[in-house]
Symmetry: C2
Subunit: 106 residues, 2 copies
DNA sequence: TGCGGGTGTAACAATATACTGACGCCTGTC
DNA sequence: GACAGGCGTCAGTATATTGTTACACCCGCA
């Protein structure tokens, strides 16, 4: 994992709002509008947070048809375990440094 | 660890600049001006980053007199190991929720 | 046909974070 | 005394993040 990825991943959970979302999802998958109600935020805002969480693999989403025929976007917790030590960071930094000094798209 | 603390701690390392600082410190303690040179940022900016890192316990600082009599602020890496899982987060959220719902300063 | 409840996104405002440049103060040396 | 090098901080600016409001569209149902 390089520095940018690690940074993005950590930033994704380093937010009280997103922690709330994850905690809420622990009880099982929920569709977006319902989730918005539970955590008390607008759908638009929730979408932004979900995008970050999904980009770093903390959640998965799936659009499905309910029995009543309406579309529901289910969001579910993805299993994860983050272990960060000075070595994790040093390794991430090492990759980034190489990329920066040698160029990445020749 | 409550939600705000966890959030601040994660945010502290969720930054490429601060990862760079930590990686640099792995080689041993360095004084501020020298560190600023090595990571290529202004002292003023570095101070801001160091404040966040120190607040979350990733580094320690100590002001000492050099043999030449000038003051040097040494920055050293503090040992740490961060393990984040859904349970870590759920627990942090649980604490925050209680604090919010019951009020904290009666 | 007009709700009520979903999805998805664009435009904008507000706030937090990162960053710059300059200042003052201290010490030792030429 | 002038310079070089260290410390610490403030005011101001740029940029990123967070949050709001409003829109368009789809489906089922009374």
């Amino acid at each position: 994992m390089n520095m940018e990825q690690l940074s993005a991943t950590l930033a994704a959970i380093a937010s009280p709002q997103r922690m709330l979302i994850l905690a809420e999802l622990q009880g099982g998958r929920v569709h977006v509008s319902e989730l918005a109600r539970r955590v008390g935020m607008s759908r638009a805002l929730l979408y932004m947070h979900l995008a970050k969480l999904e980009a770093s693999g903390f959640i998965t989403t799936s659009l499905e048809l309910s029995p009543e025929g309406t579309a529901l976007k289910h969001v579910a917790l993805a299993p994860f375990s983050l272990n960060v030590t000075i070595d994790t960071i040093a390794e991430a930094v090492a990759h980034a440094t190489v990329a920066n000094q040698q160029g990445e798209t020749p």
